[in-house]
C-alpha cells in the first residue's frame, strides 16, 4: 500500500523552543492514524507543521510522494490536504452556509463544489436546518460537524483532524468517528487524527502513533495498542 503521508526526522518548534524532535512515521492511503499522547506531547504542533502553519526546522514531509517544503499553506487544500484545527475551525462571524461556501471557493468545478455541499447537508441534517445561523450560535457538536463538513467540500485525500471529540457528547463523537471510518473505507480518504480520548481513537484507527515530549515513542497497529496490556500500560497509562 502506498503511503499518502511520510514524515522523516521532522524537527519543529516555536522560535528557539524546539517542540518536535526527530519525528518519523507514515500513513498508508485509505487508513486512519491516531496521534496519541498527553497534553504537551506535541500533537497539535505536529499537525500545524504538516499543514505548513509552522515551518519545520529539519526533516522532511512527503505528501503523495511530493516534498511539501516551500508550498504555501493556502495551496495545500488545492492538493487535497485539509486541516481542521482544534476547537476554532468555524468562522463564528459567518453563517453556516457562508462557512460551507468558503470551503469550496477555490474549486474550479463549481458544480461539484455545490454537490459536495449538498452531501454535507445530507450527512449532517442539523446543519441544513441552521444554514442561516451564525457560527457562534451553534452548539459545540454542530460547530465540529460544520468544520469537518467544510473540509470535506474540498474532497480531500488527507484529512488532518485536531481533537474532533473535544467537548462533544459521546453519541456525537461516535457518529463523527463512524463517518470518518466510512469515508476511508468507501472513498479512500486518509485521516490523521489527534485525540486525547484514547479509547475512542483506537476504536476507529488502523494505526496508533504515541507521542511523548515531542518524540514518537511508538507507532503500532491500533489493535496491538488496544490489546497488548504491556504496551498500553507503558505508553497510554491505562
Amino acid at each position: 500500500m502506498t503511503a499518502v503521508l511520510e514524515v522523516e526526522a521532522l524537527d519543529a518548534g516555536y522560535g528557539p523552543v524546539p517542540v518536535l524532535r526527530d519525528v518519523a512515521f507514515s500513513v498508508p492511503a485509505g487508513t486512519v492514524a491516531a496521534v496519541l499522547g498527553a497534553n504537551g506531547a506535541g500533537k497539535t504542533t505536529l499537525l500545524r507543521t504538516l499543514s505548513g502553519l509552522l515551518r519545520p526546522t529539519g526533516g522532511r514531509i512527503r505528501y503523495a510522494g511530493e516534498d511539501l517544503r516551500g508550498v504555501r499553506v493556502e495551496h495545500l487544500v488545492r492538493r487535497g490536504l485539509a486541516h481542521v484545527p482544534e476547537g476554532r475551525g468555524v468562522v463564528t462571524e459567518l453563517t453556516v452556509a457562508e462557512n460551507l461556501r468558503l470551503g469550496g471557493l477555490w474549486r474550479r468545478d463549481r458544480a461539484d463544489a455545490r454537490r459536495a455541499r449538498d452531501e454535507v447537508y445530507a450527512l449532517f441534517p442539523a446543519l441544513a436546518d441552521r444554514r442561516d445561523h451564525l457560527g457562534h450560535q451553534l452548539s459545540g457538536g454542530e460547530r465540529q460537524m460544520l468544520a469537518i463538513g467544510r473540509a470535506l467540500i474540498a474532497r480531500p485525500r488527507l484529512l488532518l483532524l485536531d481533537e474532533p471529540s473535544l467537548g462533544l457528547a459521546p453519541r456525537v463523537t461516535a457518529q463523527i468517528m463512524a463517518l470518518l471510518r466510512r469515508l476511508c473505507d468507501e472513498q479512500g480518504l486518509t485521516v490523521l487524527l489527534v485525540e486525547q480520548n484514547v479509547r475512542t481513537a483506537l476504536a476507529v484507527a488502523d494505526q496508533g502513533i504515541v507521542m511523548s515530549l515531542g518524540r514518537v515513542v511508538t507507532a503500532a497497529p491500533a489493535a496491538r495498542l488496544r490489546d497488548d496490556d504491556r504496551l498500553r500500560h507503558a505508553y497510554l497509562g491505562f
Binding site: 499553506v73 493556502e74 484545527p85 463564528t92 459567518l94 457562508e98 461556501r101 468558503l102 471557493l105
Partner: protein
C-alpha cells in the same frame, strides 16, 4: 423652522461624505485591526491627482476616475511596502507609522503643489435649490449624497454577495482558518487597503469643494469627524459607520448653524469623548467585548 430644514439637508449631505470616509476606516480596521490615521492625508494626495487630471483634461469625471484609481493604487502600495513590514506586536506600531506617513504626504504635497489653497471645481451647481420656499439641497449636494450612498450600497453588495467579499470577511475574522481553506490572506489585506483608500479618495474628491479648496491639510478636520463617526458606530460595523456618519453630519450641522462655525471642531471632540465615556464599543457594537 425653515432654517432647521436647511440645516438638516445640509447635515445629511455632509454626513454622507463622513459616512463614506468612516466606512473606509472601518474597512481597514476590520481587515487589519489598525486605525489608518493616514487616510485623510492619502485622500488629499489623491484629490490633488484628481484635480490635476481634471484641470489638464477639462473633465471632472476623468479627474474623479483618476483620483479613485490612484487611491486604489496608493492603498495597495502603503500596505505592500509599509504596513506589511511593521510589526503587529503592539497596536501602536502601525499607528506611529501611519502618523509618519501623514507628515510625509503633507510635506511632499506642500513641496510639489505649494501650501496655498487651490480652487476645486465642481461638476454641478452649488447654489441651493428652493423647494416650496425652503432652501434645500444644491445639485452638488445631491450628487455628493448619491455618490456616497452608491459607494455604501456597492460595498455592501461586494461583501455579502460576491466570493471575493466572502474571502475578505473570512480573512479578517479568522486569518489562519482562511489560509487552511485556500484563501490568500495577504492578498485580501492588500485588497482591503486598496478598497479603503479608493473610497477615501472618492470621499476626498466630494468633500474638498465644500470647504476652502485643495490644501495639504484639507482633510484634517474631515478625518477627525469621520473617525468620530466610525467610533460612534462602533469601529467593527459598516452599518454603524454609515449611521454614525449621517448622525455626526446632522449634529455638526445643527451646532454650526445654531452656535456658529467656531464651535464645530470643539463639538466633534465633545461628541467623541461622550461616546467613548458612555458607550466605548459604539452604538452598533456586538455584545462581546472587543479585544484589541
Amino acid at each position: 423652522m425653515e432654517r432647521f430644514w436647511f440645516l438638516t439637508f445640509d447635515g445629511l449631505a455632509a454626513g454622507a461624505v463622513y459616512a463614506a470616509f468612516a466606512l473606509a476606516l472601518v474597512l481597514i480596521w476590520r481587515a487589519a485591526r489598525v486605525v489608518n490615521f493616514a487616510q485623510g492625508a492619502m485622500a488629499v494626495a489623491t484629490a490633488y491627482v484628481g484635480y490635476a487630471v481634471a484641470g489638464a483634461t477639462g473633465s471632472y469625471w476623468l479627474g474623479l476616475a483618476a483620483a479613485v484609481l490612484s487611491g486604489l493604487a496608493l492603498g495597495a502600495l502603503v500596505e505592500r511596502v509599509l504596513m506589511r513590514f511593521v510589526g503587529t506586536a503592539g497596536p501602536l506600531n502601525q499607528v506611529i507609522v501611519a502618523l509618519g506617513l501623514v507628515l510625509l504626504i503633507q510635506a511632499v504635497l506642500g513641496m510639489v503643489f505649494g501650501n496655498g489653497y487651490r480652487p476645486a471645481a465642481t461638476p454641478f451647481d452649488t447654489d441651493a435649490l428652493t423647494v416650496g420656499g425652503v432652501a434645500a439641497l444644491s445639485p452638488y449636494d445631491l450628487w455628493v449624497l448619491g455618490a456616497a450612498l452608491a459607494v455604501v450600497v456597492l460595498l455592501a453588495l461586494l461583501f455579502t454577495r460576491t466570493p471575493v467579499g466572502l474571502r475578505m470577511r473570512a480573512a479578517a475574522f479568522a486569518p489562519e482558518v482562511s489560509r487552511l481553506l485556500g484563501v490568500s490572506v495577504g492578498r485580501m489585506l492588500t485588497l482591503g487597503w486598496a478598497l479603503a483608500a479608493g473610497v477615501g479618495a472618492l470621499a476626498g474628491m466630494l468633500v474638498v469643494p465644500t470647504g476652502l479648496g485643495l490644501h495639504p491639510h484639507a482633510m484634517d478636520l474631515v478625518f477627525v469627524v469621520a473617525f468620530t463617526a466610525a467610533v460612534v458606530g462602533g469601529l467593527d460595523s459598516p452599518v454603524g459607520a454609515v449611521v454614525g456618519g449621517l448622525l455626526v453630519g446632522l449634529i455638526l450641522s445643527y451646532v454650526t448653524g445654531y452656535l456658529g462655525p467656531d464651535t464645530t471642531p470643539l463639538a466633534v471632540l465633545v461628541l467623541l469623548l461622550a461616546v467613548l465615556l458612555v458607550r466605548p464599543g459604539g452604538l452598533f457594537s456586538a455584545a462581546r467585548a472587543r479585544h484589541v
